[in-house]
Symmetry: D2
Subunit: 360 residues, 4 copies
């Protein structure tokens, strides 16, 4: 188990989906940052289940409490303890099927690794674990704004199944625009198609995956620590550590492999007060270090594994079983993944900023 | 700068492209492993330039020397010092253009980060830095074979530009099959097309990117440390830390987002002596932990940034410049990236194996 | 701020003396360890204030709650969240003297480092922070007993001011014997003198320091990771990280410098089933690795800085001030430090045990 | 094995006493620091054997080579590779006694840990390993001088066996004064007695231990990362990681336990431009953070284990053996330990300086 992320801005998380609480310790957050629960709650609200008809009806308030590390509304430089109580500890989706590992869940691998079977199946593989990340990420983001001024980290749903939005990386995209519809795709027309597709999948007791895009603007050149902690490498680790994420690409990504060098190279141009690039196939990073252009990446999220349809599989002892999830489930987790992606990006960027080299 | 990778099986690297030598310290390699330079050299030979007409003619012997950590051909448990001399310290590809950052290279970002301009431009961003990784990875791989018996880590070129090989994940794929042609694509017919495309790009003073696939077979269930050091998360970090890599996907990856849950779930089946899965859209990992199926991932490599064609860009002081690389360059680095990907995969897997949990 | 300790058995702590709660996340504790609050509470009880007439009357129940990481009384392999509420949040000992840094406290250095002044003065430098360590250490100790059988970690007060107990390293020393008197010195006669000295200091509004000895028995040879994480090096770090500790010595320590090599060398002898040493000047460690003999070390604890006597000092703005602590204070913290030392020793040993090398 | 030290200023070392070379990678040294071999060699010369009649006649030039990380005499921000060849690879001191673990050496514990027996016995436990530390420490020290101006780190021999020098912590102590005599004790009269004692021990085929004092001046308040990486905790780890060190004390240390709080508290006084303390029993550190006063600590070094006298011990198979070292050996390593202690102190301080908190 490895529940700590970051070198200087470090977050350590705890909590299963069905325990007393989930939470985190944020260590290394600089002192004198104004911080109260009100800075953290909005992103938790964006993440929590039961927000609308597209997501699971499991309703949890997910109110965060700061346990330490602040006084009179500012950080002390000491570790910030964060806690969110669990309210809704219902039995598993598949009822009493404890001898049957759920397909494409982590029940089997947790059992193989730890030799113990928790009622919550894959324990920390549950999406509930991401509450801690979102809370910690909100603190990182607050500090980044304090440190660099007008920075923004905005993620949105760029595809659901085969429905793909036109690429949106233009300046000025806000979370408000992203939240304008249920599916968190800022292209209104595409959003309607996505919603219809999700409703159809839900009605068919099936689920959908898709992709998220994330754009980080306003960060200076110089962030990232070659060679193993290149900025894109830590972003990739951060993103692939989120449940259900199966892919990561920075800048041109996989599509860039179809281009030739003469097309793909980002020529330098003079911008106001600094050198910039004409195109941004590099995704704002060259040689593992930010170049001042927007950091743009995309991630792939698999279709939800918990489905109402009957699935033929086998039990731990090898005998054939048919599995069928009870109740209603998120047919598509992408809208709720938006604040999680933003949180992990903020944690990577805050840590990179603190690690940025001193000069003699 | 962060030049150390791994928690228990740790490699720390040093060396610029134009310094005296490059090398590594491998710390945490278990004792009593038979090891000599002959175990390391073959993968270095696969990586080195000048192997054939497709790669840069820069010829370097790249002979590795073990400086410490072994005696009488076995490891002592102490750190293994590795060194490879640099021979061919030629001036930069673009001649005396020191005031002009090369497009899509790391010259500019290194300058912004470190405030010093090295003759080698982006210093550690050079592909020469990967010599150390390949040497260290060969040791990791040797230990994995010792520990787990018949394991294999085989990467190959799965696409060059728009030319894509049929997916090959069948058991029995060997490095010999991969090396059967210059381009390291095990599908002979596709390989010929790839070679033709690379030669064409080379003749047009241009470059190509593409994708690599890597298949890791024979590893047990239980490897990977949730939540931040999930096996796929560390593989993603490892791969994105390789120069020119722009994307990573595990199992179904981005294509998996087009599927529904009912199609994508990997049903369990009884296999000889263990539970396996019928399909492997998970890529051998569930919840961040290996499940015993082959670990399969793909990476995207951008077209080489150094090209012979004239490029319009600007100098550091903002004035317009035309840049044109002298001499001959790798028009496509994918064949040489094969042993680098294998090395990084071996480092991740060896570390994961050593970190695998004790039970009471 | 660095609130994480350990490589594989990792504890991260949070909490100021005057916040809502203090606590820890224990990450990397192996699965399947029977564990409930009842395993942790006894050492917390030994640490807490208000136990007897020698310690501060501040009374806190210090009841620990396990928030995650266990189910049905066994560990899951996932992070164990621990929380202890603060009850008694009284204003500082010196009343409203916020512009006056207390001599030999951390008020001044915390202000210099973090640029913010907490009501609790030196924030995390308070002894209250050690609650988290004691709780985490109790888990480490439970695992060590599970893993190695009959091991023991016993610390006791070996001197108070100038009153020194005869050295007790004999087999069979128990915590019960240590707890037989208020001052936790297992030599009854010396204990009475120590108690008298402490009472005298208390009545004179002064304080005393002293030394603790710790004996760790039953551990196998092979623990410790040369060269920087030698077992004695990590014990030294662990002990010097405890508030008020000013010195550490292993085995013969400073007294050993008065001996000659011919006296000091620990000759090997055959013991039951293994090689042992005739003497133990090495303190159970050679070359940074345990040799199977008892690990014996001593630490120096300075006299408590908070005293009722008037002290002439200066305020932050430089003007002279006389400081006089209100109320009653621990005149000697050594008895309460016993479980803290044991906890830190347990954390070091558990981590060393998990890190012990695999062999091919 | 754990051969890496530091969080931001990181050194990783390799090398046995009898391999091809020893060396280090210094990662995280800031760019633009003027650095050549000439900055490193002087401290290596102070460490190397064969300097005078008091030390072992094994003569090694110990010439350091910088392999990477600098260009035109300044650091690039990239890892600095350092190498020192081994010249004098003679068989062990005790001849062919490979089945007999040397008393108070690490032969036995290395064998227990790693299961392999190196010709050099305890492998990395040899004092030769410290070459790498001294080289890396010289770089850290150079950077500290660059960063903070007039800082000094000066260690000296404060006792040899029972001969103790008067305490010297006065401003202005230099390495030249320390090096004024063979034994590196700046009190000339005591030095003569020490030399006589060492010669006597040598003639009697015996060895002596002693203590070193180290004074670090000119560092600002604010260095050190509570709670586990307190400045004194990392100094303690660093010092106890040096071969033969058995004890560490900061400020008043063990002697401070004999004082009362009213005597021991360091009252604040106004100094030029900052608050200082009247006394310095705290050793320049309060609550784990430097306070701007000199950081003063002492370490205990055991008498050398290799002696010419006959020693009765047992072989690995348990049969009695008499061991007698051949040739001449260092009867007292303390003078040569001076630059090692300074190097480790410099590494701790450089890392602490880089980790010092940002403020919003």
């Amino acid at each position: 188990m490895s529940s700590t992320f970051g070198t200087l801005f470090r977050v350590t998380t705890f909590g299963e989906s069905h325990g007393k609480s989930v939470g985190a310790i944020v260590d290394g957050c600089p002192a004198n940052l104004p911080l109260t629960e009100a800075d953290i709650q909005p992103q938790l609200n964006r993440r929590r289940p039961g927000q609308n008809a597209l997501t699971t009806p499991r309703d949890e308030a997910d109110q965060v409490t700061i346990l330490s590390g602040t006084e009179n509304g500012v950080t002390l430089g000491t570790p910030i303890g964060l806690s969110v109580n669990n309210r809704d500890q219902r039995p598993g989706d598949y009822g009493d099927m404890s001898g049957v590992p759920r397909p494409s869940h982590a029940d089997y691998t947790y059992l193989m690794k730890y030799g113990v079977k928790a009622s919550s199946g894959g324990g920390r593989s549950s999406a509930r674990e991401t509450v801690s990340r979102v809370a910690a990420g909100a603190i990182a983001e607050k500090w980044l704004k304090m440190r660099f001024g007008d920075v923004s980290i905005v993620s949105y749903v760029s595809s659901v199944g085969k429905i793909t939005a036109p690429e949106i990386t233009a300046e000025g995209l806000t979370r408000e625009q992203v939240d304008a519809n249920l599916v968190r795709c800022p292209d209104a027309e595409t959003a309607q198609k996505m919603i219809a597709a999700i409703e159809k999948a839900r009605d068919e007791k099936d689920s959908l995956g898709g992709t998220l895009t994330c754009v980080c603007r306003g960060f200076p050149a110089g962030l990232g620590e070659p060679v193993f902690d290149k900025l894109e490498a830590l972003l990739a680790q951060a993103m692939l550590s989120i449940p259900a994420v199966k892919g990561f690409e920075i800048g041109s990504g996989f599509a860039g492999t179809l281009m030739r060098g003469s097309q793909h190279n980002d020529a330098f141009v003079q911008k106001s007060g600094r050198l910039g690039t004409k195109t941004n196939y590099s995704g704002g990073i060259q040689g593992g270090i930010s170049n001042g252009e927007p950091v743009v990446f995309r991630i792939a999220i698999k279709p939800v594994a918990t489905i109402g349809q009957a699935q033929a599989t086998v039990a731990l002892d090898g005998h054939p079983v048919t599995l069928e999830a009870k109740g209603r489930h998120d047919p598509c987790v992408l809208p709720r993944a938006v604040p999680i992606v933003e949180a992990m990006a903020a944690l990577v960027l805050a840590d990179a900023a603190l690690r940025q080299e001193y000069r003699v």
